[in-house]
Structures are given as C-alpha cells and as structure tokens.
Assembly symmetry: C2
Homo-oligomer: 237 residues x 2
C-alpha cells in the first residue's frame, strides 16, 4: 500500500484556556477540522468544546479515541486503523500543542512507523511563547516537564538546572500543576542564586496574561501569587 493511499495525521493545537480563537489559531486549522470525522484526543470534554467552537461536523457524528496518561501504550494501535484505511485523523491535546508535555507523541511515533504522513498545524504552545517572551537565551534551551515534588530532591534538581544554565548558557524550562505554582516559586527563590534570572509566564494568550523576567533577588521582594493560573517557569543567566 503506498503512502498516498493512507490518511494524514493532523496535529491540531487547541486554545490555552478560555482565549479567543482569532488570537491563537490560523484560519487554515478551521478548514482542516471541518473536514475531519475522526479524532484522537487527550480529554473528551475539552476536545468537544473546542471542536464545536471551530465549527466541526456534528459532534455525535464524530469518532473519538482517548489518549491520556491512563492509556497503555499497547492499546493505541487500533487508533491508526482509520489512517491505514485512508481516513484523515486529527490529534488534539487538552490545551496547546499535541505531542509536547502530553502523551500524544506515542501515536505520532506509531504513524511514522507505518509510513503515515504527519502534518503539524500552527497554534499556541505555552512553553514556546514563554521562552520567546522571557528574553532568556533562545539559542539553547531545555524543557524538563515537572520537577520532583519532594525535598530534598526538588532543591537539588533546581540547583542542578541552575548550574547547567550558567555552564552552558542554556535556558531551563519547567512547569507545575497550577495549584502548586506558589510553592514552586518559593522553592526557586530559596534554591537559586540572587543574580539568576527567573521568568514566570502565566495565563499566556489570555486577557490576564502576565509575563515577567527579573533576578531572583528582585522576585524575593514581590508578593504576587500565581496559584491556579497555568504558568511556565524559566531560569537563565
């Protein structure tokens, strides 16, 4: 079976929270979404809400496959059956770009293994938008997902990342569950050197967006809370 007879796997970014479509999504994505009947999604409720906003075919006529941290890797091979039969399929994350800080990469890898064409659509990524807005080095950077939850592992990890930031001039990027943001901020302010640059980028693309880069010393004098606001944290020299 040649490549052209198979379907295309579209990687479809969704909104970051309750932001405006025109702020974040190119018009082309709407066209693609409106042409699709099958989706692999991280969260069913948020996917349906997003697809309705984007003017998809009637929700009840669509086929959904669930791909999240509870999906076991062995169970995803039926998800590409439609693609192998020539149907185009959309991959949707809970928020932002699929395949980054979510389990979406597994299905993309499977697609490549079967010679299925993968087409990424443009859209918001909180990690990328945080990086470019931070003013920290964008010519060398590293994303680590979540840091260890407990001390002393967490403090040690922060100090290790800070050393790499200085040694390699490489921006270090990580995230936290939103209700723990302030705890992470305090741990960063305790562990890092006063001159280290810290960026907190929260509510990106929302009307409440707040992005600030300052030294750890300057942050120590701040009283701002980031709890319950999705945020990306970055440190650099």
């Amino acid at each position: 079976m040649s490549n052209t007879e198979k379907g295309i796997l579209y990687l479809i970014p969704s909104l970051l929270g309750d932001s405006v479509i025109e702020r974040s999504i190119p018009a082309f994505n709407k066209e693609i979404i409106q042409s699709l009947e099958e989706f692999i999604v991280e969260d069913l409720r948020s996917a349906r809400r997003f697809l309705i906003k984007m003017g998809s075919k009637p929700i009840d006529s669509l086929t959904f496959h669930l791909l999240n941290e509870h999906t076991t890797h062995g169970n995803i091979s039926p998800y590409i059956d439609g693609l192998l039969k020539g149907k185009n399929v959309g991959l949707l994350s809970d928020a932002g770009c699929p395949g980054i800080a979510d389990p979406g990469a597994d299905v993309v890898r499977l697609a490549h293994k079967h010679g299925i064409k993968v087409v990424p659509l443009v859209g918001p990524s909180s990690i990328l938008l945080a990086l470019i807005s931070s003013g920290l080095n964008g010519q060398g950077f590293s994303f680590h997902g979540y840091l260890p939850k407990k001390q002393p592992e967490r403090g040690a990890k922060i100090k290790q990342l800070e050393s790499i930031a200085y040694r390699d001039n490489q921006t270090q990027i990580f995230i936290e569950t939103p209700y723990r943001n302030d705890a992470l901020l305090q741990d960063l302010l305790s562990a890092c050197r006063p001159d280290t640059l810290l960026c907190v980028a929260s509510d990106i693309t929302l009307s409440t967006e707040y992005i600030r880069t300052a030294t750890v010393k300057e942050w120590r004098a701040e009283k701002r809370s980031f709890n319950d606001h999705p945020a990306v944290f970055l440190i650099g020299k």
Copy 2:
C-alpha cells in the same frame, strides 16, 4: 512612570519561507501589525515583504531598527526609546518566532529590565513544529542550535547528545545551514547507533513539507537530499 504609560513590545512571528498566511498566522496578528509604526527586525528586506503582505501601514512611514548577529549588545538601548515614550513596537525575526535561534532575546530582556510589557503572538516555529511531528519525547527536550562545524568535535558532540537522549530520555534538537544539511545527515548516520531514532523535518508549513522519523539504520538505506531546504534535526531513543 507607571507600566501602563509605556508601550507594549509585541513578538511577531513571520512565515517560514514562502508559505500561505492563513496556514500559519492567526487573524489577530494582522490587527496588531496594522496598528504599529515601529519595528525591530532581523532582516530589513524580508521584514518589509512580510509586513506588506500583512497589510501594514505604508512601509515608508514606518521606523525600523536592525537587530541581527552584527548588532552589538551595547547599541540596542535606543531601540526601546519608543517603548519608554509609550509607543507599541513589533519585534520580527527573519523567519518564524523572534527570540528563538536569533538575537531577538536581547531586546526582550532589555524590555523586562525597564518594566515594559512583552506580548507574544502565536505563529510558526520550525523547532516546535518539528518536535511535535517527530513523535519523539515531547515531555523532555533540548535545543542546541548549530553543532560544531569541524571534525572531530562534531562527531564527539553528536555522540554526546545521543548519550543524553538515551540516559535522560530527552529529545535532542539542532539545526544546520540549509546547504550543509546532507553533510550533517551523513555525519549523524556515521556517528549514531543503528537503533537511534532520527527525525528530519524540512520545509515545514510549505507545500513541499517533508517530515520523517525512522531509525538510523533505516535512514542509511535512504537516498533523499535535504540540501537547500530549511530543516530541523532531532534524535531520540
């Protein structure tokens, strides 16, 4: 002077090559561009061409500041004079997102230092789009810019990045000057283990887009040339 009296620094992604606006740029970006009279740009010619496409004010009425690898850091402080006086300013890269793999970060950092609000607009980033399309780990990744040009440093660097990819399950991302893509591909195929996964993502968002992830062993049997096509290279386990 309070923050609200200063202008906003908009980070404005541009097209990756000669791609279609609606494929890559949200409608909101057009509104912002049409409202601006001052830009900090990496390359004057490509910036003008892009701004005209986006329906900017007449090009001759706009103020441009040049920020590229020849700009010395000390010379950029006048670039934020307009912002300090309350004017909104746009920062534009040669292609894709400003502040990533270009010198744009310097002016963003300066803006933060002066309490100027920084607002990132959504748009295409070849590095991010390559990452999500690769199927390689998107929960841990690292971008290194360009690898050393000469051997044996280059081979040693590739082997070092491959070790990190295995040890930390961290995707390693790098780029090359397009006319040297095939040479880099050959060096990767010589230095890496047969089972290592390699993704080459080229001409992203263009009609000639080609993205493939396969093992090094599989790539060795390929004869495809990527020279003169902008490409991102990724390795993972």
